[in-house]
């Protein structure tokens, strides 16, 4: 029963590794590939079909921000979409609760309600974001993107950037 024993040992080690991996990915830091072009040029996403999905950027997402839900203007965050809870989007945080924001392509000015935020993609031409589904509750946010870790020529920190003249904190 030598092989039976070593198989059991291998299973145990794999299970332990998976448990530790899932815990770290849920609580501390995780990596994720990017799909779509809504955050161009910050991220170069791959197309959604195989083998396109192998060529997209891979980003590093930290979960420490979820302990206090403290975000800054210009952070890139990932969140569950309000229309489909199984889908995760990556966009930039433009406005925090209490800010007044000017909705682009319309002369509307609206105030972000308590506990919500306004997100927009860096590539407004092909981005499904708060301009379509409105401000999203901060409770949907799943992490903050800090670095691009693949491909090697694009490795680097993700900067905080704000479009000028769009929001006012008063």
């Amino acid at each position: 029963m030598g092989t039976g024993n070593s198989l059991w040992l291998l299973t145990k080690k794999t299970l332990t590794g998976a448990l530790i991996g899932v815990t770290i990915s849920d609580r501390y830091v995780t990596a994720s590939p990017v799909r779509g072009s809504s955050m161009h040029p910050t991220f170069t996403g791959s197309s959604t079909s195989f083998p396109g999905s192998l060529k997209g950027d891979v980003i590093l997402v930290e979960r420490f921000c979820l302990q206090k839900y403290k975000f800054s203007h210009g952070d890139v965050i990932i969140f569950r979409t309000p229309t489909n809870q199984k889908q995760l989007f990556v966009k930039r945080l433009i406005a925090l609760p209490g800010d007044w924001i000017q909705v682009p392509e319309s002369s509307e000015i609206l105030q972000i309600p308590e506990g919500h935020c306004w997100v927009e993609g860096d590539n407004p031409a092909s981005s499904l974001d708060s301009r379509s589904f409105g401000p999203i509750p901060l409770g949907l946010v799943q992490g903050r993107v800090t670095h691009v870790i693949w491909p090697p020529q694009r490795i680097g920190q993700v900067e905080r950037k704000m479009p000028t003249g769009r929001i006012s904190p008063y």
Partner: protein, 185 residues
């Protein structure tokens, strides 16, 4: 000079004693024990987030189903993840007004349902009807006289739901399954 040589002898003896402590065994055992604690913590996290967890719920908004002073309930995490929350379930969700707060309410409408609700029970019987948009749910506390819920903040995205409350663990008098039916106040 006798003092000096005695000190040297004592130091040599101490060095021998420290050398004879099985450091490698001790460090191996310490790593083993730490790894065991880490494994147990990871197991607890996975069970807590993906299978079942306990929660303390307080407040008047779910009277008479939940007590004012606090009940401990078992929350099933599988239903919410799989998208099988049903109308009549009591769910825990992150408050849309404050992401650091978790609130307990009953689901009264899923996406596509038409929900009729009394706008302000203190001020008469005026009611409104609306259709819950795709990806959202309508939640209300059982105690409509003292509850901040979808009547104030609108339908909430399904992604805010953390789990379904299915069993009351404490206090012992209230031990039992949490029902689907709303007992009206």
């Amino acid at each position: 000079m006798a003092v000096g040589s005695r000190a040297v002898a004592w130091l040599a003896g101490a060095a021998r004693r420290i050398g004879s402590v099985p450091w490698r065994n001790i460090s191996a055992e310490a790593v083993d024990r730490t790894l065991l604690v880490v494994k147990a913590a990871c197991f607890a996290h996975v069970i807590n987030s993906y299978v079942v967890s306990l929660a303390l719920v307080r407040g008047p908004s779910m009277l008479p189903t939940m007590n004012l002073t606090g009940d401990i309930i078992a929350v099933d995490r599988v239903t919410a993840r799989w998208g099988t929350v049903a109308v009549g379930d009591v769910v825990l969700l992150r408050s849309p007004e404050n992401p650091r707060k978790t609130v307990t309410k009953r689901v009264l409408g899923l996406e596509g349902d038409a929900v009729t609700y009394i706008v302000d029970p203190h001020k008469g019987d005026a009611s409104k009807t609306l259709v819950v948009p795709k990806g959202y749910v309508w939640v209300q506390g059982d105690n409509i006289y003292d509850s901040r819920d979808s009547r104030q903040f609108g339908p909430v995205p399904y992604g805010l739901i953390q789990g379904r409350a299915f069993y009351r663990v404490w206090p012992p008098e209230g031990f039992g399954f949490i029902g689907q039916k709303v007992t009206s106040l």
